[in-house]
């Protein structure tokens, strides 16, 4: 009896296994997914997947479909693709600017969040234009577009030209009341450019774009001080030069520390931010004895920084968003005052006092005196 049962169990396993088997070459990996809105506000989904067959001339196959949801669009794709489409390895999710301008576009990403087989590490990128235009880009001097695009964003984020926001980060920012989301921004202008970051409001709507310099300041205020921070400034007290910029200088940061103090007074939140930067000079176009006049140069950099910080914060406050995550500090340290305003944090932050104080140390000047 026991033997018989064991035997039948083995038979059962052998015959009924295999059910979930999908061989790798039969899978169509949607490595890039694009979402757009056309002029009549119809959703357009596009996807790009690699082709493995050696006989195929093109390395990628691209599909553009109109559908009501992303999952439905996969259905449409499967009608023509010679494999089973999956989203388990999606690298970049390209979202058209028009889509992002509408509230609750985040819901479109639902299949990525619900299906455990799908990845959460897909990079979210806003495209200034149409995302399927980007998908069709097939440069000859670059590897496959998905690999190229994901590498592009990763390295740009390492240089802090844009933020790298994965779906997981976006979800966190969407649910978090004390912070609004920011995503990388991409433009196709013959070639592909990462232009900076796009800042979204609490409902996920696109609000404003910032370029690399402001993006670096944003990262500093977010206290995300990994990666490289390089700045090129023009000294205010130096002659401009005729053709060549004689007042410019560049530096990168050696060490960055950000400390934040949260206060509440006069019905306003107060954020005092102390930024300490150790810089290494990498370029200096005007004559300056760094050995003697380092204090002066440091002061100059401090002023420049503070000005730019103020400008960015003003800009953000006007847009009534909080990409810095000041709300997290407000909740952590001023919970009593935070609680009533948490639902309209953007407006509250717009009225708050934010002061950034920068302290610069020149750590090194390089090999030239």
């Amino acid at each position: 009896m026991k033997r018989l049962l064991i035997l039948s169990a083995v038979l059962l396993l052998l015959t009924m296994g295999y059910k979930d088997k999908v061989d790798i070459e039969d899978i169509s990996l949607s490595l890039l997914v694009g979402i757009d809105l056309d002029e009549e506000n119809n959703l357009v989904f596009s996807s790009s997947s690699p082709v493995f067959s050696k006989e195929a001339k093109e390395k990628e196959e691209n599909y553009v479909t109109e559908a009501i949801t992303m999952r439905k669009s996969r259905d449409e794709d499967d009608k023509t693709v010679m494999a089973l489409t999956t989203g388990g390895k999606t690298q970049v999710l390209l979202i058209g600017k028009r889509v992002m301008q509408h509230q609750d576009w985040f819901k479109l990403l639902e299949p990525f969040l619900r299906d455990p087989k799908n990845t959460l590490n897909v990079r979210i990128v806003m495209v200034d234009g149409l995302s399927y235009e980007v998908l069709k880009y097939a440069p000859k001097d670059k590897p496959r577009l998905p690999l190229y695009l994901s590498k592009l964003i990763d390295t740009a984020a390492k240089r802090n030209i844009c933020v790298k926001t994965t779906l997981q980060d976006l979800r966190r920012a969407t649910f978090e009341k004390g912070m609004t989301a920011s995503v990388a921004e991409l433009r196709k202008d013959g070639r592909l450019f990462v232009t900076g970051s796009a800042l979204l409001d609490e409902d996920g709507r696109y609000k404003l774009s910032i370029e690399e310099e402001e993006n670096r300041l944003l990262r500093i205020l977010q206290q995300q001080t990994t990666g490289e921070f390089q700045f090129t400034y023009k000294a205010a007290d130096q002659p401009r030069g005729k053709i060549f910029p004689e007042n410019a200088y560049s530096f990168y940061t050696d060490d960055l520390s950000v400390k934040m103090k949260t206060d509440y007074a006069d019905d306003k939140f107060k954020f005092d931010i102390d930024v300490k930067i150790r810089v290494v000079l990498s370029e200096l176009m005007f004559p300056l004895d760094v050995r003697k006049e380092d204090k002066k140069l440091a002061q100059e950099i401090e002023q420049q920084f503070e000005k730019k910080f103020d400008k960015l914060i003003k800009k953000v406050q006007q847009a009534k968003i909080d990409p810095f995550g000041f709300g997290l500090h407000a909740r952590a340290f001023q919970y009593q005052h935070w609680k009533p305003v948490q639902k309209r944090w953007g407006e509250t932050l717009a009225k708050a006092d934010v002061k950034v104080k920068v302290k610069v140390d020149i750590a090194a000047m390089g090999t030239t005196k």
């Binding site: 049962l5 388990g88 455990p116 969407t174 649910f175 009341k177 997290l328």
Partner: protein, 366 residues
């Protein structure tokens, strides 16, 4: 003369058996449950629940200490007589059997969701039954070795979680006790049940070689579980925003999903597959309690045939019932209510009864 001395287990094995019985699939959703009830202060709950459970375990041991050679079935027979003892054992058997089944079902559902959506559930249970049968069939000593080995084998797994810390915001935890104690106490009943597993003490205590360390072992096991829960919960709370964690069913798995190494991605899948080995200790422990009791009922020395029958029945039940997520959750609630009785009420009642019983006997004898 202890009839269980043949299968004696060491103190370490005793600890790992208890700890193994406690850690199941509950941990995967525990941070969410805590956050739902008590917000980011939910982790305080774990500490309180730990205290309560240590106390309950101590009460269990207080009773068992009087009868060092008796497992629960022997104890019942001794206290209530042969027939009433057996009758009283029946609901307990049902509880243990059902508990083991639920853990397996839960695991099966996870496997179905993450790995094998089209494979029928009973087939997955059949897979789980193979190693389970091999372990439980041999008696407690082998099972204890298994629990011990698995613990050491899996010790590195919690380290994976550290990889998520660089994306975390410690600010999420502040301020501590932001809403006071009320929400914390509100979530307590569910947290307390996360420590279920102390009830295997009733069965493994007589096998322990060094009985004088029984309480220490129980405390160590509970503390280890507590640290594990605390560790995972805090990492989840640090990673997820307090507003968003409640939208996830299994925050722990979603958390691991975000980890990517250069050589391997989707750590959640690897973790879940490996975690299967950890959870297997839990159902093995409960199945042992079940078949130990049924063998006692049928006066069988060897419980290997009952183990076989148990697994066969479990598979057939899954084939017939085809459980869903919601059903399992519902059953889990029912079970946790029953568990309250067995983990907290039963030990106290037994303690009171035995002291009365002993007094009566002494009075009768002298």
């Amino acid at each position: 003369m202890n009839k269980y001395a043949m299968n004696g287990i060491t103190l370490m094995q005793y600890i790992f058996l208890i700890q193994g019985a406690q850690v199941g699939t509950g941990i995967l959703s525990l941070p969410r449950v805590l956050a739902e009830n008590s917000g980011t202060d939910g982790w305080v709950n774990i500490l309180i629940a730990w205290g309560i459970n240590c106390f309950a375990g101590w009460v269990i041991l207080l009773t068992l200490r009087k009868y060092p050679d008796f497992a629960l079935p022997d104890l019942f027979a001794h206290l209530f007589g042969k027939w009433i003892g057996k009758l009283l054992l029946l609901p307990l058997i049902a509880y243990y059997a059902f508990f083991a089944w639920i853990i397996m079902i839960n695991t099966m559902l996870f496997i179905k969701a993450w790995f094998l959506p089209k494979t029928p559930g009973f087939l997955i249970l059949l897979l789980l039954a193979i190693p389970g049968y091999l372990v439980v069939q041999h008696g407690l000593r082998v099972q204890a070795r298994y629990a011990e080995f698995v613990f050491y084998l899996m010790m590195w797994v919690p380290l994976i979680f550290l990889a998520t810390l660089k994306h975390g915001h410690w600010l999420h935890l502040l301020p501590v006790l932001k809403e006071g104690w009320e929400p914390i106490l509100h979530g307590l009943p569910k947290t307390v049940f996360a420590f279920a597993g102390n009830e295997v003490l009733f069965f493994i205590y007589p096998f322990l070689k060094k009985k004088q360390y029984a309480v220490h072992g129980m405390l160590i096991a509970n503390t280890m579980t507590m640290f594990l829960y605390l560790y995972v919960t805090i990492i989840c709370f640090v990673f997820y925003t307090p507003d968003g964690i409640t939208t996830l069913n299994q925050p722990v798995l979603s958390l691991l999903k975000t980890i990517e190494f250069r050589f391997v991605e989707r750590v959640d899948m690897i973790f879940l597959a490996i975690y299967l080995i950890v959870v297997s200790r839990a159902w093995n422990a409960y199945i042992f309690c079940t078949v130990f009791s049924t063998s006692f009922l049928f006066k069988k020395q060897d419980h290997s045939s009952h183990t076989f029958v148990y697994f066969a029945l479990a598979i057939v039940c899954v084939y017939l019932v085809k459980p869903t997520w919601n059903q399992t959750e519902h059953w889990m609630t029912l079970l946790s209510n029953a568990g309250m009785g067995i983990m907290y009420a039963l030990p106290v009642l037994l303690l009171v009864y035995t002291s009365g019983f002993e007094k009566y006997r002494r009075w009768k004898a002298g």
